[in-house]
Amino acid sequence: MKITINVWRQKGAQASGRLVKYQVDHVSPDMSFLEMLDILNQQLISKNEEPVAFDHDCREGICGSCGVMINGLAHGGQLATTTCQLHMRSFKDGDEITVEPWRAKAFPVIKDLVVDRGAFDKIIQSGGYISAGTGSAPDANSTPIAKENADLSFDAAQCIGCGACVAACPNASAMLFTSAKIAHLGLLPQGQPERKSRVLNMVATMDAAGFGGCTNIGECSAACPKEIGLHFIGRLNRDLLSATIAGGSSVD
């Protein structure tokens, strides 16, 4: 296959960027999208041009490092698929593909396709945990957890923190990401003691980081490689409402 690709090139955070057109020949349908970018980079280096910077690591769809807008869709729009798991067989010979970084105020571009997603870590640091210090745990089977709750909690816990939800959202909202952690912990008995302070603190941090509000569009869930459901946002809102009515503030 021959592919034409328009890639966002941006030297650094302060530089202005632009789309640059490249031609990649000898693309095999069995290649992953990132392997196609590898080939492009090998070509560029051989021509003494700087390769395209992009984040990637496990290439198994679980670390959450990779993620770019492909033809305007986060991770390329294939259901439940990260960029590294998208394969060239879903494109046609002669296709022209546009590749851009995540676009969100809270995710500033570092270089080319690489963005800073540190705001996600800040949200987790503000309450995305159960305060169970090492050594204090009772026997694991001392608290049975209904299988349906454990399974639902797992569904939420699968979030890989890639940022596709933010990139896909017209408001650049981080509600799906935040709600996944709120739901994961809130569905478990161990998560109850900190449930109210958790939601208040995490939402406050999320707002302060510059993410937009949620207007129930649903692009986030459609773009999510782990298919995290929109209903988790409902859970977050319910927790937030009850914590607020209970008179909680965003400080413990």
Binding site: A53, C58, I124, A132, P144, K147, G161, Q190
Partner: protein, 656 residues
């Protein structure tokens, strides 16, 4: 070398090795009391004084993340580092199948003693008894700790935890979270770490790569790092350094490791005096998706848990090109069930991989190039129904289909062995301290617990045992024992290490050669896979020893690294890693050549039984090979730690 079975009567006297520098420091006394005795005897640091001590932790996977979080909880001043953009992305996240623990929730005869024995036997009797026993002991605490953090393990309808079986065990002791156990455990450690970051006890440095270690008065006192966004070279000093930087499978270029996994931190420490142990012990995992072409950048594992219900087979006939559904039952060779009837498809990884290689070498392999075997779920789907199979392995089946474009519910998966894990690593004593005082090593980066082969679901167990329980105790003892003075960045050793790092970066950027870093990495991978892969010979290893120094020389004269050092420069990062991998490769080959026996993942063709099983030689090789660096890998000197087995008897490792 002979290929005959070992004679029954021993005439030779076993060789005993002792090396004063390799004192394991395992406490005396009965095995089951060693750890509690040691914990009592270790010195403690008063809680109010802990914040005055800085502990540097490199790597935020299961071992590093858990250690940093726990040391932070205890009140130490922790500085943690990772090369990824977030601590949550360390490669532990990709572990699929599960984590072992001797909970005996199944009431099927499990115990600490049995987990200990299975692990020692699984490692082909090449691990240190005391360390492995402690690992089995701590396994039960790990599960408790993770559940209390909110790790959503699989449960039964009763609400109690579920278990599955894994290779090399006849009990069901593996806890799991669908096919994403590593992810859930790592996110647990990451959440504990995040809590400490918020509490101010842990200072987390992401996108920061460790490029050297600072030794002052013979002790590890700090590290030199590069900020991967700005390129700034910095030094960080402290009381002790923990390396939890993972394994070195990427020396083979193609492996199941993440693209960024590298040996640089461990290799830099080795070059500064840390002994590197058993580098030739590598694990080739039997169930990976086969290579599809030259463009391949990495390989993807299909969890070993699939072998609970999947049956491995090839056509009996050589070169049988029929589609799998056209091959009648009696014309199939279920070679694992045939050769290892009591463990069947759950034979340990090294054994299952070699068996797959043997049938493929014999021309029975399937798929492109004949480098594949079937992993077939049709019997399980008939027995359990497609829905049950989907519930157990749904995400793995989906991943297989995304990568190959084939639907495994309809056609059998094709799998082939791939490099997955490295049992070798920096030598550590019972306290997980390396030969450099003050430098501790945890998780896959050390060598200590898996011997010559790691059993499935044991890596997560070891990483978390080291991180949550062992290192936080032994670090406290080291700090409390003291004997070292305060240092600051004006010490000449700091400037020396910083300048060495800067010079090396400058060198990469000014070679201006013709070849890309990747092209060298691929060439290295081909040499290692060909001559130091699943099967090794004296001849092949000697050949590799001529190819690798030549490759090293070519690399340093002809690599092309564009851009500058003062910005995000992924080629520069790779260049440093590949340069270290080339040197490590040479040491691996030397180690493989020196170890003239077959054991676990190290298979020397000269040392096998008539049936083609690994033939161990306990008389000559019952030791840990620990290499000391001098100049370059060809000058490295071998030291031996004799393995002493007090509670178990060395036996032939059989899964028949």
């Amino acid at each position: 070398m002979t290929t005959e079975t070992k004679p029954q009567v021993e005439t030779r006297k076993p060789v005993e090795y002792t090396d004063a520098r390799l004192n394991a420091n395992a406490p005396a006394g009965p095995l089951e009391q060693k750890w509690s005795k040691h914990k009592f005897e270790m010195k403690l640091v008063n809680p109010a004084n802990r914040r005055k001590h800085t502990i540097i932790v490199v790597g935020t996977g299961l071992a590093g993340g858990a250690a940093a979080a726990t040391l932070g909880e205890q009140g130490y001043n922790v500085k943690a580092f990772c090369y990824q953009d977030s601590a949550r992305r360390a490669h532990s996240i990709a572990a699929q199948g599960g984590i072992n623990a001797a909970k005996n929730y199944r009431n099927d005869g499990d115990s600490v003693q049995r987990l200990f024995y299975d692990t020692i036997k699984g490692g082909d009797f090449r691990a240190r008894e005391a360390n492995v026993y402690r690992l089995a002991e701590l396994s039960v605490n790990i599960i408790d700790q993770c559940v209390s953090q909110g790790v959503p393990f699989a449960r039964e309808y009763s609400g109690y935890l579920d278990n599955r079986s894994f290779g090399g065990a006849q009990v069901s002791r593996t806890f799991y979270a669908r096919g994403q156990t590593g992810q859930q455990l790592l996110l647990g450690a990451y959440s504990a770490l995040s809590r400490q970051v918020a509490a101010g006890t842990v200072q987390l440095n992401e996108r920061t790569e460790m490029l050297d270690i600072i030794i002052i008065d013979g002790r590890a006192r700090g590290i030199v790092t590069r900020d991967m966004v700005t390129g700034e070279i910095e030094s960080h000093l402290g009381d002790a350094v923990i390396l939890a930087t993972g394994g070195y499978s990427n020396v083979y270029y193609l492996s199941t490791n993440a693209m960024g996994c590298n040996v640089t931190a461990a290799w830099r420490a080795h070059k500064r005096g840390a002994f590197f142990a058993n580098p030739c012990y590598t694990q080739i995992h039997p169930t990976c998706i086969p290579v599809s072409g030259d463009h391949q950048s990495k390989l993807t594992l299909m969890s070993e848990s699939l072998r609970n219900d999947g049956r491995v087979w090839v056509p009996k006939e050589k070169g049988d090109a029929r589609s799998p559904d056209k091959v009648p039952e009696e014309e199939r060779d279920y070679f694992l069930e045939r050769r290892y009837p009591s463990y069947g498809n759950l034979a340990p990884r090294d054994i299952a991989s070699r068996a797959a290689k043997m049938v493929c070498d014999a021309g029975q392999g399937v798929g492109p190039g004949g480098l594949g075997v079937y992993l077939d779920f049709s019997a399980a789907m008939k027995r359990l129904g497609e829905n049950t199979v989907r519930a157990r392995y749904g995400n793995l089946f989906d991943m297989y289909e995304r990568i190959t474009g084939e639907n495994p519910y309809k056609v059998p998966m094709r799998i082939y062995p791939a490099v997955h894990y490295t049992m070798g690593g920096l030598w550590v004593d019972y306290n997980l301290m390396s030969t450099i005082p003050g430098m501790f090593v945890g998780g896959e980066a050390n060598f200590s617990d898996h011997g010559a082969n790691r059993l499935g679901a044991s890596a997560l167990m070891q990483g978390l045992a080291d991180g949550y329980f062992v290192l936080p105790s032994t670090i406290g003892n080291y700090v409390a024992t003291g004997g070292y003075s305060q240092v600051d960045s004006s010490h000449p050793a700091v400037a020396e290490a910083v300048n060495a790092v800067k010079d090396r970066i400058q060198k990469f950027l000014t070679i201006n050669g013709t070849r890309t870093v990747d092209s060298f990495h691929r060439e290295l991978g081909n040499i290692m896979w060909e001559y130091c892969g699943m099967s090794r010979t004296e001849e092949g290893l000697k050949k590799a020893l001529t190819l690798l120094p030549a490759l090293r020389e070519k690399f340093w004269s002809d690599v092309r690294v564009l851009g500058s050092g003062n910005e995000l420069n992924q080629e520069l990062e790779k260049a440093g890693r590949v340069a270290d991998f080339i040197e490590l490769g040479e040491l691996m080959v030397r180690d493989a050549l020196e170890r003239g026996e077959s054991c676990g993942g190290h298979f020397r063709e000269e040392s096998q039984t008539e049936e083609g099983e690994a033939l161990r030689n306990d008389d000559e090789y019952c030791y840990v090979a620990a290499w000391e660096h001098f100049g370059d890998p060809s000058q490295a000197v071998l030291h031996r730690e004799q393995l002493q087995f007090e509670s178990i008897k060395l036996a032939t490792r059989s899964y028949k």
